[in-house]
Subunit: 335 residues, 4 copies
């Protein structure tokens, strides 16, 4: 169990579940689109028991994964976009007036996903209201900024506008944090339960859901960062494993770069780790490992994050895919 | 009278007034800060008669001008900033809760002034609400985007948020259109009457004033573009003057700027234009000249504007000056 | 003849030619790709006589036009891109080592086309040199900046690098000026004669051709601005036509676009212009009209340009199309 | 000794030195500018012995530190800028023709420092050559891009241009990696020994120094990232310290957040670590710790870095300070 490490992905939380946990609270379906190397996982939390197991409210969490999302040489990934569109269409159902909210801070690259999606939407609400176009679905959009930019709780801005323009459904887009580096910018999560506090790159405290807004909230999230504690936790865990296996020296030898090998110590496993010690190290619980990780961090690191070097380009690419999946609700795009 | 040419500057409208118009409807005060080469003009529209004369509602319009605004080699112009701050302070008076609205479209350089100002504000509303800082004035901010981006009338978003957070005063910042090229990015206009529809680079139709928001609205505007019809009007007007003076050939030779010189000299000033013709050309009214200008334009030009080559840099520079003038309301900035 | 108005497009220069000029100096072929609403014009200047007629050196000038270039809702226009690629392929021939130069100033939106194209190229020179990939064509790229940014003649930087890395061909990309508003961001010109001085948005004085670099130079240009004198010239010309036709009042009423209709109708077309005057106005030569236009301009306008409101988005879209056309030379893109 | 952890700062390398190492190879002077909270450290490597001790070539390394560099509320920090200018002036001496090179990749925020500095320089070389201004020092500038953008070794581009325009001195600006989080964007290092390979955010392999360019190279570097291995090394080191001290549980208790405390284990040091183990753990050498850290990392993490959330803003601020320090060599700035 890695529950102590921050992740916003239901998919990663699922990995912490014991086998039996899945039986009657959480249902999981997976589907592989082989030609496109795209994987879709649907996690359904069906009752309170599932909520407790997974740590996420009752609802549907769809994860679509493909490295091609960030790596494709075209500017958008059409197959991925269509799978995303179909899943959105299923969750939106018959709702006609869609308000898209781009959460996050445009000035912080890995947090700029939401505003970038808004930049490429074809909004139609004003055109429909003025009788200039005919569409089944009506799109409007807002990138409200984050509280550090506005001084106003993001949820307050969104609720104000919702109360006035009364959309049928809100789609909220945000950058998320993941645990696993290879999920960054390659995974999109959609869920119908809104966005929980504390998500994303910033400390976005807005709770946006049916309860707070009075409107169904579909959240689209993409992990763009890993928190520094998550990295350190993994290294502490790795360290514990190294110590536990008593194979540190071997490990070092294999990479061929060691400088201070104590060749004279005849023992198989190195002189300094023996079986008894291993026994003791097993007593590190996950909680302890997490606490160690946090204690190891200098306070300055709290304001930092780990992100890929190509984050600027990757976020743009992913944002285009999401924009086009939403623009897919417009008739004129289909003809 | 050039009233047919679009300008958002009271200062330029004033130039159209006949001398006597100023007597009892519009009062004008000017002040030169010689050391800094800054000029301040206060235009007060005092009654209905003034409104009709100037074409602007009753209120105070302060214009601060200096080429150093766009040209200074430091990133902000401190003297200009302080004069701007003092004028803002006068208009704001005892209002404590200030909501700053950055109007305009961030993706169109000459229209990005408002959002850029917001980017550099030190908002404090959330910090004060959480008891983290003490300030006399409370700053919050919003860059709502334009209707083409959101599908929502900008005024609807702003009114929604105002109704919820109830500021004492709104400061709205927008890019304007001027007539005179040398006013671009060198002039800031502040007024206490809000922002009228149709202003700015975009077709921002939001009427933001005391009447629509229920809150006093102070507008800060900076001309960043000239409309194509304004340029063409000027050239038509110039053409008419050339014909009228009958000195086209001389003009070409000397590149002088004279307009009505030497009417009495008759035929020797050009082989092809004589005195009688001049008489007839005087029949062009301003309305006709404007109509000619509009007829001359190809429809594609309607979606274009005239802007300086260095607009990206100039808009950033001006936005810093405005941000700092507003940040000047915070105590921690003064100590 | 409009030869006094600045244009960088051979296509617009061609419009100035008298019919007979085409006979033995300039050859023109046009082709319409009907499904895609794309028009291709090939202008071949075959000898000195053609050079004098067109004002462009001996060589081939291909113009590809389509409004879909700037307006398509996908991020790139595939058909346009393929036609562009085929034309480039023809000009490049068997040259294998390609150096792409992105001319222009990244900080001035309409001048940023060249650097933006470079941003999206897949350069391979270093990978091929290190034996990491195999390709028939080798791509390298440079965005040298403009002289106002570097203090160095752009041609000096490019020649220095060419002398060192010895490419077989240089592709130089630059923003151009056009006369006609509807050509902005909808037209791409390719030629095999290099880039002439004075082209583009900035005062790019670099002469880049076989003679200066010792290497064949293919230029790709896209008009992104119209100069202010071009706009004013057009309005002066329009004014002269209005006066000449003596139909100003009617014009205002009907908003027609007619130019020389009904000269014989005399007085009834307007109270203030009669036939004699018309005679005299015909004495305006093109040179005089251009001089008038320049005299009409305030000096500040010289540093300005006319550009569409959506220039930021349009330049990005066009740059992607060009990048992909060049990336098309890589094998891995074709498989 | 932490020599295995990547740092580009002589200041951090110095911390690894044993006391006696300083005696005859490396000289260190420090100066505190108290009013401004700025610290200046001059490290002089005087001979081969010093080179071996510090791992940096013979020369002078000046480090200027102040948190105000990244945090000041004005857009530039004037005191810091002046101290930087004075140090540059000392190193440049009588050299008159200065070529400033902005290394790094503009599209990767923490690597964009060099290009951003170039953006704000007042280059004069072309103006002086044309006789338009008179200056003692002549500035030119180039932001060549990185090899992944150009396909060309950065050093090849720079050497080509240097051979042509023959500057007296090159100032090369680059983003660096540090070990300590609180040094990010708060420290500027200047040295007169050029830039060593492997520095910076990207894998900039350009060796730029007197030997390769034939011209003195002054390097200005600012740490903007910490490598992921550096973070993990620190956590491994912390982990070893925790194990060594046998005080893991205490540590957890002090932060008051512990979940699985085993209160019943009476022993001082926790039940699972005893003295003998401690003995053995001391045998971890630095090399072993670094190897462990590298082994712990997933391959995906190699392409990532750790950076502050406000990196976009911080890099801009620092770049302005450096630009202004270099612009300080122009006369017109001083009058």
């Amino acid at each position: 169990m890695k529950r102590y490490i921050r992740t916003d992905l239901a998919l990663e939380l699922k990995e912490d579940l014991p086998e039996q946990g899945l039986i009657d609270g959480v249902k999981i379906f997976t589907k592989n689109y082989k030609d496109e190397d795209i994987k879709e996982t649907v996690i359904e939390v069906v009752n309170k028991k599932g909520e407790m197991m997974l740590g996420k409210p009752v609802g549907t969490y769809v994860t679509i994964e493909s490295k091609s999302l960030r790596e494709g040489d075209d500017s958008i990934n059409k197959s991925f976009m269509q799978i995303l569109h179909q899943n959105l269409a299923k969750m939106i159902g018959k709702a006609d007036k869609i308000l898209v909210i781009g959460l996050g801070n445009r000035a912080i690259t890995p947090d700029s996903l939401g505003p970038l999606v808004i930049d490429n939407l074809y909004v139609t609400r004003h055109l429909i209201n003025e009788g200039l176009v005919k569409e089944d679905k009506e799109l409007s959009a807002l990138a409200p900024g984050v509280m550090a930019q506005t001084g106003i709780e993001t949820s307050v801005i969104i609720k104000s506008v919702c109360d006035k323009i009364k959309p049928d459904v809100v789609i909220a887009i945000d950058a998320l944090a993941a645990r696993e580096p290879d999920r960054l910018n390659s995974t999109i999560q959609i869920c119908d339960t809104g966005i929980n506090p504390g998500a994303g790159v910033g400390n976005n405290r807005a709770k946006l859901d049916k309860k707070t807004l009075g409107i169904k909230v579909i959240a689209i999230g993409v992990p763009t960062v890993i928190s520094v504690p998550a990295i350190v936790y993994q290294s502490v865990e790795g360290m514990v494993n190294v110590l536990r296996s008593g194979r540190c020296n071997d490990n070092i030898e294999k990479r061929g770069n060691e400088k201070n090998k104590n060749k004279e110590t005849g023992e198989e496993n190195g002189k300094w780790i023996d079986y008894e010690e291993d026994e003791r190290l097993e007593h590190f619980t996950d909680a302890e490992k997490y606490e160690i990780a946090c204690n190891l961090l200098e306070p300055d690191l709290a304001a930092m994050f780990v992100t890929p070097k190509n984050i600027d380009e990757a976020v743009k690419k992913v944002s285009y895919t999401i924009s086009e999946a939403i623009n897919g609700f417009l008739n004129y795009k289909r003809t």
